[in-house]
Symmetry: C2
Subunit: 222 residues, 2 copies
DNA sequence: TTAATTAATATTGTATACCATCATACAATA
DNA sequence: TATTGTATGATGGTATACAATATTAATTAA
């Protein structure tokens, strides 16, 4: 990265980020009411800021607002979760395929670097770091495949299942399955084998979906 | 409808709708600055409301905000437009396929009814009505296919190319091509022929995409 | 005249106070 | 027990204030 284009970070941005994380980390239960004044105190900002944040989250469908009642943390049913993984599969397969067709050496070495980072982070049980690097790896793939719109959608969908993902990593984090599948994707890209890349990507997501659904079941039955 | 379950419409909602329409109808040029004060006057609401609306549009990617400068109407490049149609194709094909597999008589008669409405509206050159009915028809398809998440995304993507769509209808509105393709989709659904439905859907979108790109070119060269 | 600086003005970001309306929990009553 | 008030609190919305930053106009230098 040569220059960091934008960065006067505004209070609203940081507050929004904090709220997003709090929801993803499960600090608010699905269905829980978000009371403006409480959030003001907790984040130390004014109601103005909180309200704008909530509008943003609302439009991201991370919270659901009922007029005159207020916002609550959105919850997903199993059908929606399955659909999210299904759509992610379409989008990611499309990106991975295109990336396999176009990737140059620079992209490939970048992917391998991130893979190293991820393995390392997982060895040290640093889940957050692994997640962050995985995201960077995928962004590289989408960039190389020239799928900027798809990337936005994937990020959005991931946001909606953020709670699940955090949970999944907490319980399945040190599993070696995930990285293996990732490696398969990278290998296929390296060899410009579009079909193999697509298949590896499908496998990867199928597994992720299964773990997520498992997670949901254990949550619901508990 | 026995009871109107709809929530009380809030000022913010109506203002948001107006802004969305204004953008879609091209009343604001891409890249144009949206000044809060001006919008307040124009819509007759307070700054708070306007700001909340802008946050919403921002998250919908209809406007781009630079801190301390303000929001501007987002613009799309050709690559992104192509990608949007590509993604819409994936999502709609998925929905149409699933709908063809599951549709019962009620759904089918509903689809046929909407088709009638659309033909009628087009005959009378009532573009807005045709658009609105087309949307309802698609919503019926997505509902029957149980693709609520995909529907949200399609709506979002359509919002981002709203300007183009309005333009397209204005110039190609009375073309009989569009409805014909729609009819093919409905026929395939009626016969529960998933493959034919998928193919008809692909054709439909391919054509829409071509018209849109043509539109973009004439805009850029002009 | 044109370029560069500086002063003036707008606009955004944020905070705060205020009010009307609606929702909910609780108490009083029938 | 069921109903009706009533108190309380939250939200939707408005208005105002002010610092920080952008933009524009005005002024000065080249």
């Amino acid at each position: 990265m040569l220059t960091n284009l934008k960065r006067p970070k505004t209070l609203k941005e940081t507050a929004l980020k904090q709220l997003r994380e709090a929801i993803a980390l499960g600090h608010f239960a699905p269905g829980e009411r978000l009371v403006e004044r409480v959030l003001c105190e907790k984040l130390g900002v004014s109601r103005t800021v909180i309200r704008e944040c909530i509008r943003h989250l609302e439009s991201d469908q991370l919270v659901t607002t009922v007029p005159n009642v207020g916002p609550t943390v959105a919850s997903l049913d199993v059908t929606q979760i399955e659909e999210i993984y299904e759509i992610r599969t379409m989008l990611e397969v499309s990106a991975v395929t295109s990336c396999a067709a176009n990737a140059d050496d620079e992209v490939i070495s970048k992917l391998e670097m991130y893979y190293e980072h991820i393995s390392h982070a997982l060895e040290e049980d640093n889940i957050q770091q692994a997640l962050s690097d995985t995201r960077k790896l995928y962004k590289t793939i989408f960039d190389a495949g020239e799928k900027s719109v798809a990337w936005d959608l994937v990020e959005q969908l991931n946001g909606r299942i953020g709670q699940l993902r955090a949970l999944t990593l907490r319980t399945h984090g040190r599993s070696v399955e995930g990285p293996k599948k990732l490696l398969a994707i990278i290998e296929a890209i390296k060899q410009h084998d579009e079909d193999a890349a697509a298949q590896a990507c499908k496998d990867h997501l199928k597994q992720a979906k299964e773990i997520a659904l498992q997670q949901v079941n254990s949550l619901n039955s508990q």
